[in-house]
Structure formats: C-alpha cells, structure tokens
C-alpha cells in the first residue's frame, strides 16, 4: 500500500496561483471564452493542494467539447412570475419543447396518409350536395332533379383532375405543390399567383370546414343554433392547439374520425340505395313548397355546378406531400390519390342521389346530409354517431390546411416572399407562426361571416381552380421542356386537366363574382404585390450584408472618439467615465447646463471629480436634453468623418420594475435616437441600485 502522507510531502511540480484560472501554456488569469480552466485550492496541510476544474454552471450551460457549449432547457425558462406562468401554461397546452435533433421524417402508410391528406377532400361531400341544392331550389323543387347530373359532371371533373395530378406526383417526387410547379415552369409571377390563391383557399377551407362541422352539431342539437359562432371559433382554437403540439401526434388523432366518417357514410349510402331500390323510399318530412324566385336557366345550372365544385378542394394535398409517404413514395401517393378521389366521388354521387330520391330540400336549420342520415338511420344512436363523425371529420378537415398553410408559408418565407419568422420551427418543431396566423385569420372570417357555410362558399373554389389551372398548365410546360419518354401522353392528360379546370375557373369566377368571388380576385394581386415587396426588401438586405461584395460604400473608420454624456456628477457618471478611460486614452465628458451662471461652479466641481478628463459644457437654454446632445454628436461625427463616435452612457437601474416609472427614461430615448446615426456606437454602463 502506498503511504499517502509520505507522498504528499513532496512539492508538486509547477504551481498555480490559488483561485485563479490558468491556461495550459501557464499564462495567468487569461480569459477562457468556453469557461474552462483549472483553479488551485489550498489544502489544510502543505502538499494537500488540489485543483478545481472550472466549468460553467451545469444548470445553464454544459461544455461538450473545447470551445463548444450547449445551453440547457432550463435556460429557455423564463424567470419573472408572469413569464413563468405563461411558460407553465404553454407547457401544459403545447407540450415540452423538442430539441432540433428530434426532427425525423415519420413516413406515412397509405392508410394513415389517406386520413392525413384526404380529410379535406372527403369531408367536402358533407356540404357539396347541399350547395348545389340551395342554388337549384331557387327555380323550384322540379329543378332539384338536375342535381344528380351536375354531381356527375363534377365527379367526372374530379376523376380527370386526379388523373392529371397523378402525373404531378410522378414528376415531382419531392412534393409538387402548385407553387413549386408553377414557379418552376411558368415563372415566379405564376408561382406567386398560385401561392396566393392557395393561401386564401387554405384559410377558407378552415373557415368553411369548421362552419360545416358546427352545422352538423347544430343539426343534431337544435338548441345550440344561437351559439354557432362561439362553437366554430372554439373548434378553430382546439385544432390550432393540436397542431402546435406537432404534426406527428396529430396524424394519429386525425385517422380515427376520418375512418369513422368513411365507414358511417358508406353504411348510410348502401342502406339508403338498398331502400330506394326495394321501393321503400320514404318521402322526406313534408316541406312547404318553396317559392320560385328564379327561372331555370343555363346560368342557374352553371351556378349550381360552380357551388358544387367546392367538392374538389383538397385534391392537390397529396401531390404536396409525396415525401411523407413510405417508399416507394410516388407509387403509394398515386394509389392513395386514386383511393381518395374514388371515395369522394362515391360519397358525393351517393348523397346527391339519396337526397334526390328522398325528396330532401335544404332548410335553414338542418343540413342535407343530416336529413339523409336521419331518413336512413332514424333518430336513434346510429344517427347521432353518424352526425358526430360528420362533425368531427369536418372540423378536422381543417387540419389539412393547418399542415399545408404553414408549410407553404415556410417555403415562401424560405424563398424570401414572406416574413422570415414563418420559416422558423417552434418548440415542438411545427411552424408555429404559420399555424397561429392561420387560426387567427380563419377565426376572424368565421366571426365576420357569422359562422355560415353558405356565406363563405362563394369565396371558396375560385382559389382552388386558379391553383389547379396554373399547376396543370405548369405540368404541360414541364413535359414540353423535358420530353422524357411518354411525354406526349402525359402532356395530353395534364393539358386536358388544365383546359377543364381553366374553363371551370372562368365559370366559377363569373357566376360567383358578385357573390363574393371578387374579393378573392382583388386579394390575389394584392398578395402578389406584397410578396414582391417583401422579396425586394430581403434581396436588398442580402446584397448589403454580403461580406464579399465589392462596391462597399466607404472604408470603415480607423479612429474613435469616446464621449460620455453626463447630467450631473454622481456614482453612475463616474463609473462610466472610468470605463471610458479604460477604452480610450482621451475620453471627453459632455455635460449639459441650463444656465450660463452654472459654468464656474461646474468647472470647480469637475476639478475635484473629473480626474483630468476633458469636459465640454453644452448649454441648453430651452432645457431640452436629448436634442442638444444629438446635435453635438452629429457635429462631432461630421467633423471627423473617418472616426467612430463611441457614446458611453451612464445609466442607473432601479431594483424593482415599478420603480422605473419614477425616473425619466432619457437614457433609453437617447439610445434609440443614437441607433440611427451611422458609425455611432453606444455603450451602456449600468449602475444597479439596491432594493
């Protein structure tokens, strides 16, 4: 065994001053930016000396390698009472922050992807039929028989458009949203038009879906009818919060209602159709024959078609999200797209057929799909389950937009067309700012339009068809440019899609123009203009910030003058002077005087306290404080063009927040003003008061 005491009598080679960090090279008390080093500790006996390894407080920072520090979660936690309360609430609602490395691409199976990407498209079968009937009813009940052919035309259009989108999926395996496809093939302007149309539509999808979901609730429970708007806004808030928690968890949440709706509506349609063909079609509850207010014209039929085409919204969602699929991504996405349009087509045709067979007429209080459900299932539990499923899928359909709007805004922000803040991921790795923005705008729309689906629908669909047309036209251009094998066939398919959606766009735009589509058509150019303004700004900033640019405005200053403005001789002012002397051999104190008679007294006082520092007296006969100082600093700057003007500001800080109110904030105002003077650097020397 080694005798420790015998050993410890030997002096250690090399010695460190106690309590002072050293460098490896032995130079004393050098600043170690990564907060490391060794500190010698004296032992009780000679030779018992040991070393304390200097490390940052492990609760705030950890040194993970020389020169690399990592902030802990604790650092981001606020310290004030209000801040902590907000933080705690946010934790409960949104969840713990996830570190950046937790970001992984969760690949979706076809089953899950159908739920995530199609709830918007499939759920529109819950209100599309009603929108057709509402238009047709103006020409009397007889006109309702046109609903089925119109639904058929829309379903056909849907089939062509989905077929056309399958091409996009194959051509853009990394996600071919309308913005990407249009921008790449038709130019930035087309891309921005598509993007604005889509953004408007995403907001409308949230508003319309939530309004329709609320209608499903009020159809089943009529007493809730007066609370439509608060219920709808409440739904938006809930979806916003779910999305703030992150998309991975929401994927699972949305699968259940989607499949519940698919299952229950399929049951209703199958049972209903069986009943119709068995001859057991019960006529709908007696309605009073509505007044004929409009003759049955081509325009009315086109109007009904335009209103029904809301069913098409959300068809492009899958082509945006190809990378989210499990491999082989394009094949799986194409298959899911076919599933989605088949289900939507079947539901839309089924509901329209049953509504016609049962003689269902839209009423103000109950939705058409609710009437169909009630007729087939009766008033019992199955009907309530069906209504609940409808309400759920409609509310959650808004989720498609909550995934797409933030993603599109983040892409636009990345390309410099929208504020940078939209491209940041939040605590939970979701694009929080985009999510909050969408929830906010959609809530405003719901309040303004009184939570009514019918009031919102005219605004809708125009944007969808603009983005369809642009993206399909972009695909035509894509095939023409690349001429890959089979390009002719693909070009024809996309060309047909573009042509049809273009025609529908004109129809929808013109028949809905007065009803509200004009708002969208006015808003799109405004948005494009804003995007371009933002882009120009970012471009200018990037050009000026680039360190490698050659046309630098002027060489940076080589000298500096240091000014210390003081209001009176006191501790903070002397502290600031001391600091100024540590950075300059010749600092200048600038003191404001309000009366000429003070000059002598102040000079005398300065001899005692100024420690030889040069003093400039600045008389301000009008008792203003900031302006004379600014004028003086500006003059110094002008007479010394190649000089940095460093302003060292003494500032005392009260211990409690409310005590700030008792002092005027002249230092703060001066700092704000100095920020705008070029080559002027402001240094704050704080003096902390005790409580």
């Amino acid at each position: 065994m080694v005798d420790e005491h015998a050993e410890s009598k030997q002096p250690d080679p090399g010695s460190l001053p106690e309590g002072e960090p050293t460098r490896k090279d032995g130079s004393d008390s050098a600043f170690r930016p990564d907060i490391s080093g060794l500190e010698k500790q004296k032992g009780t006996r000679q030779g018992d000396a040991y070393i304390r390894v200097v490390r940052p407080d492990p609760h705030v920072l950890r040194r993970i390698a020389p020169g690399v520090l990592r902030a802990t979660e604790e650092v981001s936690e606020p310290h004030g009472m209000l801040g902590r309360l907000y933080h705690g609430l946010k934790r409960i609602v949104v969840g713990r922050p996830l570190p950046t490395i937790a970001e992984k691409h969760e690949r979706l199976t076809k089953i899950k992807a159908l739920a995530v990407f199609s709830s918007d498209a499939i759920s529109s079968s819950a209100y599309a039929t009603e929108e057709i009937l509402i238009v047709l009813i103006a020409a009397g009940t007889a006109a309702l028989s046109y609903a089925l052919p119109i639904a058929f035309a829309i379903a056909l259009l849907l089939a062509i458009v989905s077929f056309s989108y399958r091409q996009t999926v194959h051509a853009y395996p990394h996600g071919g949203g309308s913005y990407t496809v249009s921008k790449e093939n038709l130019g930035t302007k087309a891309g921005l038009i598509a993007a604005s149309a889509l953004l408007i539509d995403y907001v409308l999808t949230v508003a319309v879906s939530v309004a329709a979901g609320t209608a499903a609730v009020t159809s089943a429970i009529e007493s809730l009818l007066p609370y439509q708007v608060p219920i709808a806004v409440g739904f938006v808030i809930v979806i916003t919060l779910i999305n703030l928690r992150g998309i991975r968890e929401s994927g699972t949440i949305f699968a259940i209602p989607t499949y519940l709706f698919i299952f229950s509506l399929t049951t209703v349609i199958v049972l209903g159709v069986v009943r119709v063909f068995m001859g057991g079609a019960t006529p709908a509850p007696a309605h009073t024959e509505p007044q004929v207010v409009e003759p049955l014209t081509i325009f009315l039929l086109l109007h009904a078609f335009a209103s029904g085409s809301v069913a098409m919204s959300g068809t492009e969602a899958i082509s945006n999200g190809v990378p989210a699929f499990q491999p082989p991504e394009t094949k799986n996405a194409a298959i899911t797209l076919t599933w989605m349009s088949s289900i939507l087509g079947f539901f839309f045709m089924g509901v329209t057929f049953l509504a016609g067979s049962f003689g269902i007429v839209p009423t103000g209080t109950e939705t058409v799909i609710s009437q169909v459900g009630r007729t087939v299932l009766g008033n019992g539990l199955p009907y309530l389950v069906f209504q609940a499923a409808t309400a759920l899928i409609l509310v959650l359909a808004a989720n498609t937009s909550f995934a797409d709007f933030p993603r599109l805004s983040s892409i636009l922000a990345r390309d410099g067309f929208m504020p940078r803040q939209l491209s940041f991921r939040g605590d939970r790795l979701a694009f929080s700012n985009g999510i909050i923005m969408l929830g906010f705008i959609a809530s405003i729309l719901l309040v303004v339009f009184g939570g009514s689906t019918h009031a919102l629908i005219p605004l809708y669909a125009v944007g969808v068809f603009i983005s369809f047309t642009l993206s399909q036209s972009g695909m035509v251009r894509h095939w023409w440019r690349l001429r890959e094998p089979g390009w002719r066939k693909s070009m024809v398919i996309n060309g047909l899609g573009a042509l049809l959606t273009g025609v529908v766009l004109i129809v929808v735009g013109s028949v809905k123009f007065m009803g509200g589509a004009w708002m969208v058509l006015v808003l799109i150019p405004i948005l494009v203009w804003i995007f371009n303004m933002i882009h120009r700004h970012y471009q200018q900033v990037a050009e000026q910030l680039d360190p490698s640019r050659t046309d630098k405005k002027e060489p940076p200053p080589q000298r500096q003058v240091v000014l210390v403005p003081i209001a009176e001789v006191n501790e903070p002012a002397l502290r600031a002077l001391e600091y100024a002397r540590s950075i300059s051999s010749h600092p200048v104190a600038v003191r404001l005087i309000f009366e000429e008679s003070d000059v002598d007294a102040i000079r005398k006082q300065w001899i005692r306290w100024g420690d030889g520092t040069e003093l400039v007296l600045l008389e301000s006969p009008y008792r203003s404080f900031i302006e004379p100082l600014l004028a003086y600093i500006e003059q110094v700057r002008q007479h010394n063009p190649d000089t940095y003007v460093t302003v060292v500001l003494p500032e005392f800080l009260p211990a409690r927040w409310w005590e700030h109110i008792l002092h005027n904030q002249s230092a703060l105002r001066l700092k704000a003003a100095l920020l705008f003077l070029p080559n002027t650097i402001t240094i704050d020397v704080p003096y902390h008061l005790r409580a």
Binding site: M1, V2, E4, E7, S8, D12, P13, G14, L16, T22, K24, S36, G37, L38, K40, Q41, G43, T44, D48, A49, Y50, I51, R52, V53, R55, P58, H59, R62, R63, A65, P66
Partner: protein, 149 residues
C-alpha cells in the same frame, strides 16, 4: 438522524447511482443539500495542473448522469469536478470546506475470487473523516464463497 449537507463522491461505477439515490432519500427526509463530486486522479508522472480534456469530459459525464438520477428523485444537487494526486484526502478537504455532516460512498462489489478490499480512498475517508460516513455496497451478482482466514 438529521443531516444538513451530504457529500457524495462518485467514481463512475454503476454503484454511483445507488449512492446518489440513498443520498437523495436521506436528503429529502432531512431537507439536506446534496453535493456530487468526482475527483480526477493525476499520476506522479504528470504535473498536478495537467489539463486532460478526455478525463474532464468523462468526469462531466459521470456528474451529469448522477445529477439526472438525483433530479429523478426530486433533488437538485450541486456538482463539482476536482483533480488531485489522491482521491481520499480531497474528499475530506471538500467535506471540511463545505461543512458536510455526512459522506455517502458507493462501494462496487468485487468478484469473490479476489481478496475483498475497500479502495484506498474509501479507507482513507473511513479512517480520517470527522463526520459520519455511510457506505453503500452494491448487491452481489453471485453468492460469495466464504474465505477461510
């Protein structure tokens, strides 16, 4: 028994976690403060103030792991990384300086084939500490064969 300040020296063995747990339970009963330390031993061949970044990193990891164990048991310990020629005397120096009234040390189980021996540091602390010392030996993985003396 009431304690106010508990010191837990860590050596980087699995038994550390048990010692920390014991310290935390005791600390919660007596509202005591817990300090976790790890001592890097510097051989005579090197100067005492040698800065071995690998050893420092290992020490940081030992402390971080133990700190996590403590936090899981509702205790927020202080941690310190030290460097010395011999571990035992430093533990006592720190205990004196900090005014600790209890030292808890983990003792790893040694295979029954070896001569059972407490480490130098443990023996030094047991022999010289002014405050109470608790040892926390980990459970044996196999029954020890009784050695004839």
């Amino acid at each position: 028994m009431k304690f106010t300040k508990i010191l837990v020296p860590l050596k980087g063995a699995p038994v550390d976690a048990q010692a920390v747990q014991l310290a935390c339970q005791t600390a919660r009963q007596s509202r005591a403060r817990v300090t976790l330390i790890h001592v890097i031993e510097v051989s005579r061949a090197q100067p005492l103030e040698v800065e071995n970044s690998e050893e420092i990193e290992r020490g940081e990891q030992i402390l971080e792991r133990a700190e996590k164990v403590a936090q899981d048991h509702g205790v927020h310990p202080e941690t310190d990384l030290l460097q010395a020629r011999a571990v035992g005397p430093v533990i006592l120096e720190e205990a004196n300086r900090r005014g600790n009234d209890l030292i808890i040390m983990g003792v790893p189980y040694r295979s029954p084939l070896e001569e059972f021996q407490l480490g130098t540091a443990v023996r030094h602390v047991l022999r010289n500490a002014l405050c109470q010392v608790w040892l926390c030996r980990e459970a044996a993985t196999q029954p020890a064969t009784e050695k004839k003396r």
